[in-house]
C-alpha cells in the first residue's frame, strides 16, 4: 500500500515536471486527482485497512496529498506566469461599449438654473403654452389696444370670442405664469417657470418663432428694487460660475414698475465690441422689474401689503452664449449631429 502511494507520487511529480501547458495539467489533474483518478482510487482503499496500519498509511497519504497538491499549484502558477509574460496584451484597446444618450442643451442649462433657484427656495411652475389673451396680456396690464402689444409679434389662434376678437394666443412670454401662480398660491411666493414661448417671426439664423424663456417671480413683504438687482446678479454669477460685470438700465414692460434691463459684459468680446453685442460691449440678458400693483391685484395679492419682483430670462440666447452656438435653428432641428454634442 505504502509503496503504491509513493509510486503514484513519483509518477505524478515526474509527469508534472514535463507539463508544458495548462490543458495537459488539467488532464493530469483529472487522471490522478479526479473522482475516478488513480490517487483517489488508491485513497479509497485506505478504508479497507485497520488499526495501526490505517493510521500510519493514512498520515503518509495525507502528506503525499499535500505535496501533490502543492506541486500542482506550483506548476499551475508557473505555467500561468509564463503565459502572462509571453502573451502580449494591447492595453490600449477600448473596453466594451456602453451607449449613451443625450439631453437637449436647453434642458441641460435649464437644470443648472433650476439648481441655483432651488437653493434659494424657489418652486418650479409650468403654465399653458396655448394661453388666453387675458393672462398673456390683459392681466399683465396690457389692455387690448395698448401699444405695448406691438412689442411682441403674437401668434393668434383662429378663434374669435363674442366681441369678434381673437382671444387665444400662443404665449409670447412666460409672464402669464405670474398671475396664474399668484391666483393659485397667493403670497408670499417664490417661483420660476421655464418654458416655451412663441413669436410670429420668420425663422433665420438669429430668429425663431419658438424659443425658451424662464420667468421668475418673488413676492413677499418688503421686497425692494435693490433686492431684485442683488438676486439677478447672484443669478448671473451662478450661471457663468464667476463674477460677471453687469449694468442695470431702464426698460419698459407694462407689467412691472419700474422696469429694468440687466446687461452683462459681452462674454464673446469681453466688452470691446463685436457683432454679437452690436458693438456695444454689452449683452441684453435679463429684463426685470418690480411687479406692477395692477398685476398684483389681478393675482389677488394686496399691493399695500406685498411687493415683489419678476424677471424673464432669454433662455435660448443664454444657451447659445454658453455653448457658442451661432445658429438658433439647431434647437428645433432634431439633428443628432448637434444634439449628440451635449
Amino acid at each position: 500500500m505504502k509503496e503504491q502511494l509513493i509510486e503514484i507520487k513519483k509518477n505524478i511529480l515526474d509527469a508534472l515536471n514535463d507539463v508544458k501547458d495548462l490543458a495537459f495539467l488539467e488532464k493530469l489533474e483529472k487522471k490522478y486527482l479526479g473522482r475516478k483518478g488513480e490517487f483517489t482510487q488508491a485513497l479509497r482503499k485506505l478504508a479497507q485497512l485497520s488499526g495501526e496500519a490505517k493510521k500510519e498509511v493514512g498520515s503518509l497519504a495525507n502528506e503525499i496529498k499535500k505535496d501533490i497538491e502543492k506541486k500542482f499549484v506550483e506548476t499551475r502558477n508557473n505555467l500561468e506566469g509564463k503565459t502572462d509574460k509571453k502573451g502580449f496584451i494591447d492595453v490600449t484597446l477600448p473596453g466594451e461599449k456602453i451607449e449613451r444618450g443625450h439631453l437637449h442643451p436647453i434642458t441641460l442649462v435649464q437644470r443648472e438654473l433650476e439648481d441655483i433657484f432651488k437653493k434659494m427656495g424657489f418652486m418650479f411652475l409650468d403654465g399653458p403654452e396655448l394661453e388666453s389673451d387675458y393672462f398673456c396680456f390683459e392681466a399683465l396690464n396690457i389692455p387690448y389696444h395698448h401699444p405695448a402689444r406691438d412689442m411682441q409679434d403674437t401668434f393668434y389662434i383662429d378663434h374669435k370670442n363674442e366681441k369678434g376678437e381673437f382671444d387665444l394666443v400662443m404665449r409670447t412670454h412666460t409672464s402669464p405664469v405670474q398671475v396664474r401662480a399668484m391666483l393659485k398660491y397667493g403670497a408670499p411666493l417664490r417661483c420660476i417657470a421655464p418654458g416655451r414661448v412663441y413669436r410670429c417671426e420668420a425663422i433665420d439664423a438669429c430668429h425663431e418663432h419658438t424659443f425658451d424663456q424662464m420667468e421668475g417671480l418673488m413676492i413677499d413683504k418688503n421686497i425692494s428694487l435693490d433686492n431684485l438687482i442683488a438676486v439677478m446678479k447672484e443669478l448671473i454669477n451662478g450661471i457663468f460660475g464667476r463674477k460677471i460685470e453687469t449694468r442695470v438700465r431702464p426698460g419698459y414692460f407694462p407689467f412691472v414698475e419700474p422696469g429694468i434691463e440687466l446687461d452683462i459684459k459681452c462674454t464673446i468680446c469681453g466688452g470691446t465690441g463685436c457683432p454679437s453685442c452690436k458693438h456695444s460691449g454689452w449683452l441684453e440678458l435679463l429684463p426685470a422689474g418690480m411687479v406692477h400693483p395692477n398685476v398684483l391685484k389681478y393675482g389677488g395679492v394686496d399691493p399695500n401689503v406685498y411687493s415683489g419682483f419678476a424677471f424673464g430670462l432669454g433662455f435660448t440666447r443664454l444657451v447659445m452664449m454658453r455653448y457658442g452656438i451661432g445658429d438658433i435653428r439647431f434647437f428645433n432641428s432634431g439633428d443628432l449631429r448637434f444634439l449628440e454634442q451635449f
Partner: protein, 808 residues
C-alpha cells in the same frame, strides 16, 4: 427714431466735455435705449477732395477718360465716364476702401485694361441729390486732401433710439422732450429756446377769415386747433431744414409739408396742412359706414363708424391722426392753408391704423397718448416756422381751439419712507425733489410726505401711481448706484410639482440607461405632413396668422414631427433613438381657466412623451421601443402590459398589425406602434420606425398617491424553478397565457418568458413560448408537489390553448 445732436443742442446745454458716445451711453442708462451713435462724417470716410491734373483719352473706350488726380499724398490714376471733368477742377474722390452712402464699395479695378485707383463722385453717389449727369465740382474754398465731410461742414451726430423703449413715453418722441430728460440726468440746463417754446403765443396777423371747427366727439378728439395762413408759395424748403429732416431719416417734399414734419420731429406733435381752397368748415366726426376716402398715398380706403375723420360739410378730408386725404392735399398751386394741430384718442387711432394697416409717424405718436397741451406749443412753432421759410405768409384767421379734456395730474402722495423701502436704498429728500423738479414735476414738501403734481406731458397715461415716481427717481439716480442687499425673508422649502418631477425623471432614465437622445420639436404642424400621415386635421386648432405653410396648426400628437427627425438623421445613422417631451393641443375644452373668473376654460393641452426608434428590418425596432418603455416603467416602479389596440387608439399612419396599447394596471397610458411601410415611403423615410406616445397626465395618475417604497423580507424558503415550453397557435396572446399561468395557483409567484420562436420546426402559424415558472410556498416544497402542480398546469394549457408541451 433718430435724434440729431445739433437739434438736441437747440434745447439743452450739453457740456463740451461730454462726447456723443458718452451722451448715448447716459441716455441708455437713464432714459431710452440707444441702438447706435453715428457721426454723420462717417458717411464720407475715405472720400476726400482731389484736384484733376490731367484728362486723357482712354485707349480702349470712347466714352471713358483717364484722369490724373492729386490728393496731396500722391497722384492717382482714375478712370472716369463723366463728360464734365477738366484739369484744374476740385472734385470729391472716393478712395479704395470707401463705402458710399448709396452702398457702393470702392475697390481697385481695371477698366478696359486701365488701372483705376478710386472714383470721382457724382451728387447722387454721395447721397446729396438726384443728379448723375456729371461729377460734383467743388468750390475753390476746398483744399486738396481735405476730407469731404470737413468740406461739407458735416459735424452732426445721429442717435438711433430703440422705439420699443419709449412705448410708454409720449413726451420722448421728439428732440424737445428728449432734451428735458437729458438736462435732468446731465444736471445741466435747458436752453432759452426750450423755455420760449414752452410758453406758446400765436400771433394773428389779420383776422380776415373765420375758421369754423366742430368736434362731434370730444372723447375721440379732446382738442382741435387750427389756423388759416395765406400768402403761401409752395417750393423747396431751405437747405438747413432739409438737412435736418434728412438727418433724422425723412425725405424733404415741399416747404409746407416739411414744416409740419419738422415740427413733429422737433416737438412730437403731428400736424397736418390742408389746401384751404379745397375745404369748407372743419367737422371732426366718426366716419359713416362704408365711407370711402382716398389717402395721400393714393389708396382708396373704406372706413366704418369706429374710425374718426376730419371732414367738411360734404366729404371726409383726412383720416384723423393717421393720414390726410388726397382731396385736400397741398399742391403746387396752393396759396392758402389750414394748419391743423389736434389731439386724438390713442385707442381710436390705434384701432384705425391697425385695421387699415397704415402706420405713420403721426399715428405712432398719437397712439402713445399725447398731451393735448402740446397742440398749442406745436401750432405756435409751426406758424412761426412757416412765416420764416415763407416770408409772405400771414395768419389770417381766428385761432380755432375746440377742446374738452381733463388730465389727472394728481397730486400723488409720495411717502419718503415707503420710497426708500421700495427702492431699498436711502435717497435724500432734497435729491428726490430735485430729480422730480428737473423732470417737470412740482413737489409740495410736507415732512415725511411729498405731494407730487404730474406735468401735463406725463399725465396722459404714463404716470399715475407712486411706483411710477419711484422709477423716475431711481433711474435718474442710477440703478447701478443703488446699494444692494439680498431679500430678507422667512425660510421655507419650495413645494414640488409632481409633473415636473416626473418629467425630470423620465428625461434622466431615457437619456441615461436607455441611451436615447432628447429632441425639441415645433408645436406646429402643416397640412402636407398630416395628409401624408393620413391624419384628419379638420379638428386641429389653427393659427390665425401662421408664418409658414408647414406651421399652420397645433400638433395633436408628437409623432408627426418625430418622423421628420428620422428623415433628418437617416442618412447618417444606422439606428436613430430619440425622445421628446412636449405639449399637444386638442380641439376640445380643457381644465385650465381662461380668465380670472375661471368659468371659461382653455383648449385642452397636455404633455406627452414621444419615443421613436428607427433602424433596419433586422433591428426589430418594435421590440426595442417596447424595451425602452419597460425599462422606463421598471425605473418608475411600474408594471407595464401591452394589449392589442382597437381602432380607437390605432394611429392612421400605423401598420395595423403592429399597434399595442400600453397599460399600467387598468389604465391605458399610450400606444406603441410601427409606421406603415407605404406611409413611411410617402414621407421619404427609409427605415423601420417604431413609435411610442405616452400621456404624462395618465402616467402621473398611476403614480399619484402611491406610498413610499417598502423593503420586503427575503423569502425564508427556497423557490423552485421549473421551465415550461409549449407550442401554440401564433394568434394566442402572450398576455392571456401569462395571466393564465400566474393565476393558476397561489404558489406560482412569477412567470418569466425567456424564449419565443416562430415558424420553422414548430410549424407554420405556430409559435413556441418558453417560460421560467417560479413556485414558492411558505414552506419548502417537495419535488413531487411541484411536479404535480406543473402537470396540472400543463393540462390546463393544453385544454385552454391547445398547447403542445415540449419536453426538456
Amino acid at each position: 427714431m433718430y435724434l440729431s445732436l445739433n437739434w438736441l443742442k437747440d434745447f439743452v446745454d450739453i457740456p463740451k466735455k461730454i462726447t456723443p458716445e458718452e451722451l448715448g451711453l447716459k441716455l441708455t442708462m437713464h432714459t431710452v435705449e440707444i441702438d447706435s451713435v453715428q457721426k454723420q462724417s462717417d458717411k464720407y470716410k475715405n472720400v476726400i477732395v482731389g484736384k484733376i491734373l490731367e484728362v486723357n483719352k482712354h485707349p480702349n473706350a470712347d466714352k471713358l477718360r483717364l484722369a490724373k488726380v492729386d490728393i496731396k499724398k500722391e497722384v492717382l490714376d482714375i478712370v472716369c465716364g463723366a463728360p464734365n471733368i477738366e484739369p484744374g477742377q476740385l472734385v470729391p474722390v472716393a478712395l479704395v476702401g470707401a463705402i458710399l452712402p448709396n452702398g457702393l464699395e470702392i475697390k481697385e479695378a481695371e477698366i478696359r485694361g486701365q488701372k483705376s485707383c478710386g472714383m470721382l463722385c457724382a451728387e447722387d453717389e454721395l447721397g446729396l441729390g438726384e443728379d448723375h449727369a456729371g461729377i460734383l465740382i467743388l468750390n475753390e474754398k476746398s483744399k486738396i486732401g481735405q476730407s469731404f465731410a470737413e468740406y461739407l461742414k458735416i459735424e452732426d451726430v445721429i442717435f438711433e433710439v430703440d422705439n420699443k423703449s419709449i412705448t410708454n413715453r409720449p413726451d420722448l418722441w421728439s428732440h424737445y422732450g428728449m432734451a428735458r430728460d437729458i438736462a435732468t440726468f446731465l444736471r445741466t440746463n435747458t436752453t432759452k429756446k426750450f423755455e420760449q417754446f414752452s410758453k406758446p403765443k400765436i400771433k394773428v396777423d389779420a383776422e380776415k377769415v373765420k375758421l369754423e371747427v366742430t368736434v362731434e366727439d370730444f372723447k375721440l378728439c379732446p382738442r382741435y386747433m387750427g389756423v388759416v395762413m395765406e400768402g403761401i408759395k409752395i417750393e423747396s424748403s431751405p437747405k438747413w431744414l432739409q438737412d435736418r429732416l434728412i438727418s433724422v431719416g425723412v425725405r424733404p417734399i415741399n416747404n409746407i409739408v416739411d414744416a409740419t414734419n419738422y415740427v413733429m420731429f422737433e416737438l412730437g406733435q403731428p400736424l397736418h396742412a390742408f389746401d384751404q381752397s379745397l375745404v369748407g368748415k372743419i367737422i371732426v366726426r366718426r366716419a359713416k359706414e362704408k365711407e370711402e376716402i382716398e389717402t395721400l398715398d393714393g389708396v382708396k380706403r373704406q372706413l366704418d363708424k369706429n374710425d374718426l375723420v376730419i371732414a367738411d360739410s360734404k366729404k371726409a378730408i383726412a383720416i384723423a391722426g393717421v393720414m390726410g386725404g388726397a382731396n385736400s392735399e397741398i399742391n403746387d398751386n396752393t396759396t392758402t392753408i389750414i394748419l391743423e394741430s389736434a389731439n386724438f384718442d390713442f385707442v381710436s387711432i390705434r384701432k384705425t391704423s391697425q385695421k387699415l394697416g397704415l402706420r405713420s409717424e403721426a399715428s405712432m405718436r398719437f397712439e402713445k397718448s399725447l398731451d393735448p397741451n402740446l397742440c398749442e406749443i406745436a401750432l405756435s412753432r409751426a406758424v412761426n416756422l412757416i412765416k420764416e421759410i415763407c416770408p409772405k405768409s400771414k395768419l389770417v384767421s381766428n385761432v380755432a381751439d375746440e377742446k374738452n379734456f381733463n388730465l389727472n395730474q394728481g397730486p400723488i402722495e409720495l411717502d419718503l419712507s415707503w420710497l426708500n423701502n421700495f427702492i431699498g436704498d436711502v435717497i435724500k429728500k432734497e435729491e428726490v425733489i430735485d430729480i422730480l423738479n428737473r423732470l417737470g414735476f412740482s413737489c409740495e414738501d410736507k415732512n415725511e410726505e411729498i405731494f407730487v403734481t404730474v406735468p401735463t406731458w406725463r399725465a396722459t397715461k404714463d404716470i399715475s401711481i407712486r411706483e411710477d415716481l419711484a422709477e423716475e427717481v431711481a433711474r435718474i439716480y442710477g440703478y447701478d448706484n443703488l446699494k444692494l442687499t439680498m431679500p430678507q425673508v422667512a425660510m421655507s422649502a419650495p413645494e414640488t410639482i409632481p409633473e415636473k418631477e416626473l418629467v425630470d425623471k423620465i428625461k434622466n432614465i431615457l437619456s441615461g440607461g436607455a441611451s436615447l437622445s432628447e429632441v425639441y420639436n415645433y408645436s406646429f404642424v402643416g397640412e402636407e405632413l398630416l395628409r401624408k400621415l393620413n391624419i384628419d386635421f379638420s379638428k386641429h386648432i389653427r393659427l390665425a396668422n401662421p408664418i409658414a405653410a408647414q406651421h399652420t396648426m397645433l400638433r395633436q400628437n408628437l409623432a408627426p414631427n418625430l418622423f421628420l427627425n428620422i428623415k433628418t438623421n437617416q442618412p447618417r445613422y444606422d439606428i436613430v433613438k430619440i425622445f421628446e417631451i412636449g405639449n399637444v393641443y386638442l380641439g376640445m375644452t380643457g381644465e385650465i381657466a381662461k380668465d380670472g373668473g375661471g368659468e371659461e376654460k382653455l383648449p385642452y393641452q397636455e404633455k406627452r412623451l414621444g419615443i421613436v426608434i428607427a433602424g433596419g428590418v433586422k433591428d426589430n425596432v418594435f421590440a426595442k421601443a417596447k424595451g425602452v418603455i419597460e425599462y422606463l416603467m421598471a425605473n418608475l416602479d411600474l408594471n407595464v402590459e401591452y394589449n392589442v389596440a382597437g381602432s380607437e387608439v390605432t394611429p392612421p399612419w400605423a401598420n395595423k398589425n403592429k399597434v399595442a396599447k400600453i397599460k399600467i394596471g387598468q389604465r391605458v397610458i399610450g400606444f406603441a406602434s410601427v409606421i406603415d411601410k407605404k406611409v413611411a415611403g410617402g414621407l421619404g423615410i427609409k427605415k423601420e420606425c417604431a413609435v411610442v406616445e405616452v400621456s404624462l397626465k395618465e402616467l402621473l395618475e398611476t403614480i399619484k398617491g402611491r406610498g413610499d417604497k417598502r423593503y420586503k423580507e427575503f423569502d425564508k424558503f427556497p423557490p423552485v424553478i421549473r421551465d415550461l415550453a409549449f407550442v401554440v397557435n401564433e394568434k394566442v396572446l402572450y398576455n392571456d397565457i401569462k395571466n393564465e399561468i400566474i393565476n393558476f395557483h397561489e404558489y406560482i409567484k412569477e412567470v418569466e418568458l425567456f424564449d419565443v420562436f416562430q415558424g420553422g420546426k414548430v410549424g407554420e402559424g405556430n409559435k413556441n413560448l418558453a417560460f421560467h415558472i417560479i413556485y414558492q410556498a411558505d414552506r419548502t416544497m417537495t419535488a413531487k408537489e411541484v411536479d404535480d402542480l406543473q402537470q396540472k398546469l400543463i393540462k390546463k394549457m393544453e385544454e385552454k390553448f391547445e398547447a403542445k408541451v415540449r419536453d426538456f
